[in-house]
């Protein structure tokens, strides 16, 4: 399943986002106004009973998307359509409106009221909230005397009991001690198993994979992919890995690499990478190294191809990185030639010295070592091989 395909669900359509874009303006100056696009042409449909996970790096637009769904923010372009009257969408927020001077009980009441419950509803579930939090013994003490874990437990309990038809959960799992974490996870499982619609943002991918039937991958405010959790998470991780290596090789930050125009379509980029890797594996360039050499930090053909494509498109430069050190930078053909010579040298040296290629590569961390390698190989070649 890809980004363009709509989600399928048997449930009734509750909410849809049609080509939604949203920007934040930064800075407070009369003369300078910067706009930062957080969501860009996003389409999404939410059905009843669905459990949807959202993954993406920090700043990808996950929390903004939840705020948009909750009605806290409104889109600059596009529309958010509620397909049911009086649809109650609630963003599960820990410690919403909590005040340190108030007691745990008072904060629980205030939190529930802020999350949309009426006073009779709060009174009806207050005892359950307190029991769930496991803070019965300190509930009438000021919140200021609670540890951060205790506050989180109370916050989670309040948020969990103040649920709506669509529950939006943003990074709130895994609070409190081990016992409470298990309890809160169990509660989440119960919510998912009920007919509630749950949209979940978390960096706990294992839990997401377990809990969600569909995962959406957001990158630069766009939906890159949506589909079964394991499939989406695999691509997401591959891209994450690739970005880190490209950033290392290009001496850029990962953020710069991600926002680079050449990476506007991460899936296309990953396709190139995977195809390049396959082609190089099938071919004869450094095949042996791919299979056995984990010491190569950056430069193996699949990576090089993307790096090369990226650099040639942008600045006509290719970089050769070995064990995190940049060994060459220049035109693609020149760098490629140097690389192939180097691979030959490594192979020859390994053969002659009976040292594994991996170890030779690990030692050859600089230009000086490359030249030493030349000398050594010449020296060995001048001797008869025993």
């Amino acid at each position: 399943m890809t980004a363009m395909e709509p989600l399928t669900s048997n449930g009734e359509l509750l909410l849809s986002l049609n080509n939604v874009s949203l920007s934040y303006s930064g800075g407070r100056s009369l003369f300078k106004r910067e706009c930062h696009k957080v969501l860009d042409g996003l389409n999404l449909q939410v059905h009843s009973g669905q459990t949807l996970g959202i993954v993406g790096r920090n700043g990808a637009g996950k929390s903004t998307l939840l705020k948009l769904l909750a009605g806290v923010l409104q889109p600059d372009e596009g529309e958010v359509v509620h397909h049911c009257d009086d649809l109650h969408v609630s963003l599960l927020t820990l410690q919403l409106g909590f005040q340190p001077q108030l007691t745990g009980r008072e904060n629980a009441i205030l939190g529930c009221l802020l999350m949309g419950l009426s006073r009779p509803q709060v009174d009806a579930c207050l005892d359950e909230i307190i029991a769930f939090s496991g803070l019965d013994h300190v509930i009438d003490q000021p919140l200021a005397s609670y540890s951060s874990g205790m506050r989180a437990r109370l916050g989670f309990s309040v948020a969990y009991y103040a649920q709506a038809e669509i529950v939006l959960i943003d990074e709130v799992l895994g609070v409190g001690d081990h016992e409470f974490r298990l309890k809160s996870r169990e509660a989440m499982f119960d919510a998912v198993c009920s007919d509630r619609t749950v949209i979940l943002v978390s960096h706990d991918e294992h839990f997401m994979a377990e809990l969600c039937e569909t995962i959406i991958w957001l990158e630069n405010g766009r939906c890159v992919m949506q589909g079964p959790p394991h499939e989406v998470l695999e691509w997401y991780h591959d891209y994450d890995h690739l970005v880190k290596q490209l950033a290392q090789g290009l001496q850029m930050t990962t953020e710069e690499v991600r926002r680079h125009p050449a990476n506007a379509d991460p899936l296309a980029r990953l396709h190139i990478f995977r195809q390049g890797l396959k082609r190089e594996r099938e071919g004869n360039i450094a095949t042996r190294f791919l299979e056995e050499e984990s010491g190569v930090k950056f430069y193996y053909p699949g990576h090089r191809e993307i790096l090369s494509a990226l650099l040639v498109e942008e600045c006509g430069t290719t970089v050769w990185v070995e064990n995190t050190h940049e060994l060459a930078r220049g035109e693609d053909h020149a760098v490629r030639e140097a690389f192939l010579q180097y691979e030959d040298l490594l192979a020859s040296f390994s053969r002659l010295s009976k040292v594994r290629v991996k170890d030779v590569r690990a030692a050859a961390v600089s230009q000086q070592l490359v030249s030493s390698l030349h000398t050594l190989v010449k020296h060995h070649r001048s001797k008869p091989v025993s």
Binding site: Y24, S25, G26, R28, K67, A70, G71, V72, L73, Q74, V89, L91, T93, L96, G97, Q99, Q101, L102, E106, I109, L110, L113, L114, M115, S118, R119, V122, P142
Partner: protein, 256 residues
Amino acid sequence: MKFLRGHRDLLLYKIVADARSESRQLYMGFAWWIIEPAAHMLVLYVIFGLILERGGPGFVGFLLVGFVFWRWIDSSVKRTAQSLVQARGILTQSNLPKWLFPLSDVLSAGLRFAVILILLVGFAVLYSGQFGAAYWYLPALLLLNLCFIFALGMLLALIVPYFPDARKVIDNAFQLLFFASGIFFDISKLDSAVSDILYWNPIAVFLSGYRRILLDGVPPDPQTLMIPLFCTIFFLALAAVLYRLLEQSLAKALLR
């Protein structure tokens, strides 16, 4: 009223919770609600009534009434102007109606003022030696004043997130109003050209009305009350339009 009913529980509990939270930050808690205004009144009485003997007979009462009501208006409007910014954590996470927060702050300040008012009325009765029919006008004037504070506070609360510098403007404007509202002097005794201008200030009209009721035992001048009434209606209407227009983008402004 329908929209208010939907959030009545929250509004009432928030007012109580804010008061409790504020009082628990101090050792003497709620006692400060009485001690603070009583101390202010005492200080003004000692300085102006006993030490300086300024302003002639009745000046202490004149000053106290003006000062106490001024403090209510000044602190309520300034606090309400900050209400949306103060509630940033809630408003950027929850889709609650924005007007709830200015209203809650106005009512919290009003609750606190109610204690001071009881003290002030007691003082005024003793000081002026009268408790006549004019006192019936006091609730109406207080209600109008409360609405004026709410209307102005609502409007300013909406402006501050978009234009944070408004805080400085508000502080300076109230500094100016402090000297232009007739707290230390009787506007009616000034040259008519000057007093006519100063009575365009709704706060001056309110202070004059309170003094007439509490000290002179006469009802406020209905003609001059038209100015605060008109301002209240205008501010309320403007706030209602602006809240409708800007409610959607307010959370984004608060996130900046």
